[in-house]
Amino acid sequence: MRKILLLAGILFLLLSELIQAQEDAFRYLDPIERKYSELKDYMVDVKVHFDIETLKAPDMQAKLYFKAPDKMKVESPKIFFFPKEGGYFNPSLFKKKEFEVKLLERLILDGKNVVRLKLTPTDTGISNKVFVLTIDTDRNLIKEIKISPSEGREIKAAIEYGMFNGFELPIRIDLQLDIPEGEPSGMREFTQFGQRAKRITGKVQITYSNYKVNSGLSDEMFKEKDSHQSKSSP
């Protein structure tokens, strides 16, 4: 009986420690959610520059529309490629109920207090993306997002902010891609025995300008074919 009580006590202590750690980690996400709670929508001019050896494309421009919590639309007269992960700013992406949050470390980066959090989805059936966020706790800003969307893929987004209508919004996102090459198919793509598949690495630089914040974008404009409901981007 005494052993059972002891075990229960240890379990209780461990569990409360775990809950405490979770609460502690959420402490850094809550202020960000509050900071952007008044951000209803925005539209912005986007310019994308690719620096990927296997993607030869000129700089592309488009207009991006976002409406909270997760509607996004892009308008471009020409063909436009936009990174699926980490390409645009969505402050309500990291909801408490959808992630298990773990505090990885506290550190000082460029003279600023910074924490690193690891966010693991609670329901892996919906998403298996693991995020590592670097948060500037002085300004409550997500400075860097490391995303592992699926096996072998890794995307890192470094974000720079500017002030627009009282909101700190990205003026530049530098994406670093490290993804495995697609499965080969067809005669020409056969690899010699023992050869390993190559990885695609490169950078995508996204710059934002001419923000219009809270202009009252209607839901209807997001119902067109080219709009996306995002569950993945920052």
């Binding site: 063909i79 436009f80 936009f82 699926k84 893929r153 993804i179 090459e181 697609g182």
Partner: protein, 280 residues
Amino acid sequence: MKLFWLETYKTFSRWRTYISFGFIALIVILTEVVMKLSADEILYRMMRSFQQDFLIFGNVLNGWFITAFIMNSLHIHIPFLITLVAGDIVSSEATSGTMRLLLIRPPSRSKIITAKYLTALFYTTGLVIFLALICISFGLILFGSGDLIIHYETKFRIVFIPEAEVPVRMLLAFAAAIWSMTVVASLAFLFSTLAENSIGPIIGTMAVVIVFLVIGNFPFDFFRLVSPCLFTTYMIFWQRFFDDPIPWQEIGRSAMILGFHSVGLFLMAFTVFNRKDIKS
């Protein structure tokens, strides 16, 4: 020149000459209509490796994209259509028993064989131009215009060509395709001078093309060593006009190698024809 036009008239008077044009028109129209009906599915299948990491907006599946896709799909089949005429152009004279009649007339053998060769090239050029015209015109009507995205199978390799550059690149690609097909026409023409019937040259040419293509594509080191010696390796050099930057040196080398093949094959045909014994 008169001989050339006479040969051209003879060639285009035969109904079999138009089989190739009809086949191309049918395939292209059928492909484009099917692609129009299942555009989303096709786009997904073609770009799925890229779509894992990027959202794509705009008219990707446009007339230029469709043309490049059809060119890619048909570059193995077009040689067969070329051999139908080029492989028949000399041997048909033997089959129909008009060879002696042809050779006892004033024009020299050299002039006759040159006129026939030029006719084979004229037909080859016409066929590829017809493919270009039907692909582009029908494609642009059905799918509209736009930037051209060249995606390499399921690999993450994309080349983006702005709309303004596409017509020139397409023109160059089709010119290169004509140049490539000239080798096939020359080979079929050589076989045609050697044979007494048309089936042999047609099957012979296709056998060479298919065997060379298979050898050139085998994923083993030995075949990779052999590959540069096969003319089929250079026949797809038209695709390089959709690269960024355009590898002019590689294109020049391929064009030169193919050119040497064409000239060599014609000279062989020329010699064979000039030495042909028509008395027996």
